[in-house]
């Protein structure tokens, strides 16, 4: 197990390095330079001032030197400072991480609340009209652009229901306020995940229900609901949990447009603005953290999987 873990962690290193290199290169390939963007179209600067600005932005050296420089600092845990706001990148990320995490958790909770009961019902009534209907409704959630769903929710809630859309407050200050500001965006995100979860719940349960031991349990004279609760459901949930984990990884980086619409100060908005402003250190830092979280979540899910289901052994 330990050897397995060590090798998995080791394998992450080239991936993370690759991500760093790709993002470093990609953001610099985008036409438009950080200094000019900072100045916009209204500001006049003398050539001497421009030289000073380029040095200050750290774009006066060759790109290769810049990369090695950056790599060296990252390894020492120094993510640099934002070119635009002069705030330390790591501090900005740490400030936004809780929101992204809470939004993702809430979206998953909502998705589970919708998907698991519907998935079970749909599996039990397989191929009935109810099943077909439920699946179509479920897939509808996956078929809408989440930003569109978000905009529609804002329209309905604020215009017709006159419900206040709270500004985000940290959970440590006011958990109710946090919930108030997050439930709509979480619903918009959760709708799509619910569809995926439902699909897995349904197919996983169908598979389990078709297996020997479930049939045996029925044969022993156990009631249908008891078989479902004691035997079928727990086993069927295992792959569903795996999917949940992967969705968590996806959600941490996939909420960009939703954050924009709901005015949530999360990592998605931070990185989107940074891309458009060519704020190189911020883009690099955020993408690295998101990717790291993504691969670590996936690793955690794998380990969890083995822990829940003793039949699986790694190593």
């Amino acid at each position: 197990m330990q050897r397995y873990l060590a090798s998995r962690l080791l394998a992450l290193i080239p991936v993370l390095l690759g991500i760093l290199a790709v993002v470093f290169l990609l953001i610099r390939l985008i036409p438009g330079d950080a200094v000019q963007l900072f100045l916009g179209t209204q500001v006049e600067m003398t050539p001497k001032q421009m030289v000073e600005l380029r040095r200050f932005f750290g774009v006066d050296k060759p790109m290769c030197a810049q990369f090695l420089d950056y790599l060296g600092r990252i390894l020492r845990g120094d993510f640099g400072v934002s070119l635009r706001t002069a705030r330390p990148v790591l501090a900005d990320i740490m400030q936004r991480l809780p929101l992204s995490f809470q939004l993702a958790s809430l979206a998953l909770l909502i998705a589970m609340a919708i998907a698991i009961p519907l998935g079970i019902l749909s599996a039990v009534t397989r191929n009935s009209t109810f099943d077909v209907f439920t699946r179509i409704i479920g897939l509808l959630g996956l078929s809408m652009p989440n930003f569109w769903l978000g905009a529609m929710l804002i329209l309905i809630f604020s215009r017709y229901l006159h419900v206040s859309l709270g500004q985000y407050v940290p959970v440590t200050q006011n958990p109710v306020g946090t919930l108030e500001s997050l439930y709509l965006p979480a619903l918009a995100l959760g709708a799509a995940i619910a569809a995926i979860l439902m699909r897995y719940t349904r197919s996983s349960l169908l598979e389990v229900l078709g297996q020997e031991y479930v049939r045996t349990a029925h044969g022993k004279g156990l009631r249908g609901s008891a078989v479902m609760l004691r035997h079928a459901l727990p086993n069927a949930m295992i792959p569903v949990i795996t999917v949940l984990g992967f969705q968590m990884g996806y959600l941490l980086g996939g909420t960009v447009v939703i954050e924009e619409i709901f005015a949530l100060p999360g990592m998605g908005r931070l990185v989107l603005q940074a891309i458009f402003q060519r704020d190189y250190p911020v883009v690099q830092g955020v993408v690295l953290v998101i990717a790291l979280l993504f691969v670590l979540t996936n690793l955690a899910v794998d380990l969890l999987y083995a822990w829940i289901d003793p039949r699986i052994h790694y190593g």
Partner: protein, 303 residues
């Protein structure tokens, strides 16, 4: 559940969730057609897709108004009175624009998935079938792309390449390449371990023959499902990129830029954003239903 090789990262981990397994390909079109129709979900999806493709093809002939024609006196006209879906701030007919917009959305979706399919399947098949260093390198590259948040990667690529229809196809294509590479690789790995391949080798068949005769047919089923599901993702990606102003150029209507332009009229003229959104929903639902149905059909454990 298949065990995991120690060196695997996210790539195989993701594939471990129950997905499409190798179906035993049975011949007989009628046998498949019967099963397809009995599935109930997939035929609905197929009908929606075919319907929207027909509309997209006929759109220039059937739209009631020129999509560029501005009628300032009729700006923001609510649905009805000659304008089925109302008009936008320029007085252009939303219904005509939704119909014409289907062309951009569908073309981008099909071409980008085709790009991802060609790139990904080739990479995956070679990696899975030959293994070795190429396998490690290409799959690690796929991991890198995969670990990027998809939308951010697409945004960055669009920003590098600049906005055009062609670049939209490239950006979305690259983002979805790893998924095809993985599906194809997994299938290739399975086939490589099967007895009949050894038998074929023993009979002196070359790799090329084996790939064409045995590998491709076996990869076909899982890839088909992937194509259908990715088409839905591609349409959503196009709309998100256009929404952020990185997609198709106005005045060419696409559903994404209609949403983008319609967003500020959400209060005043909701039809501007509601109808293109509904159009996306219906078409994407079609691809999802088809993909979901096919997944069931091709999954041997659910027979």
């Amino acid at each position: 559940m298949p065990g995991s090789t120690p060196a695997s990262t996210t790539a195989e981990a993701r594939d471990r969730a129950p997905k499409v397994e190798q179906p035993r390909l049975r011949t007989g079109v009628r046998w498949w057609a019967r099963r397809f129709l009995r599935n109930r979900v997939a035929p609905i999806g197929l009908a929606i897709i075919l319907g929207s493709m027909v509309i997209a093809m006929l759109a220039p002939a059937i739209v009631p108004y020129d999509v560029r024609k501005m009628a300032p006196q009729d700006a923001l006209h609510p649905p009805g009175g000659g304008y089925l879906f109302g008009t936008d701030e320029f007085g252009r007919d939303v219904f005509s624009r939704v119909l014409m917009g289907s062309r951009v959305s569908l073309v981008v979706a099909f071409l980008s998935v085709l790009t991802a399919l060609a790139l990904g399947t080739t990479l995956g098949l070679i990696a899975g079938f030959y293994g070795g260093w190429w396998d490690s390198v290409s799959m690690r590259a796929m991991d890198i792309i995969f670990a990027f948040p998809a939308i951010l990667l697409a945004i960055a690529i669009m920003a590098v390449l600049g906005t055009s229809l062609f670049n939209l196809v490239i950006a979305i294509g690259i983002v979805y390449t790893p998924q095809f590479a993985r599906v194809a690789r997994a299938a290739a790995l399975t086939v490589r371990g099967l007895e009949f391949v050894d038998a074929a080798r023993a009979l002196g068949l070359g790799n090329t023959r084996i790939i064409w005769r045995h590998l491709i047919p076996n990869v076909l089923a899982p890839v088909t499902v992937q194509v259908s599901l990715n088409l839905s993702l591609a349409i959503l990606s196009e709309s998100a990129l256009s929404f952020l102003g990185l997609g198709t150029q106005p005045p060419t209507p696409s559903w994404g830029n209609m949403l983008s332009e319609g967003r500020q009229f959400l209060e005043l003229a909701p039809w501007n954003a509601v109808f293109p959104g509904l159009a996306i929903m219906v078409v994407v639902l079609g691809f999802n239903l088809l993909g979901d149905g096919l997944r069931d059909l091709l999954d041997p454990r659910l027979r």
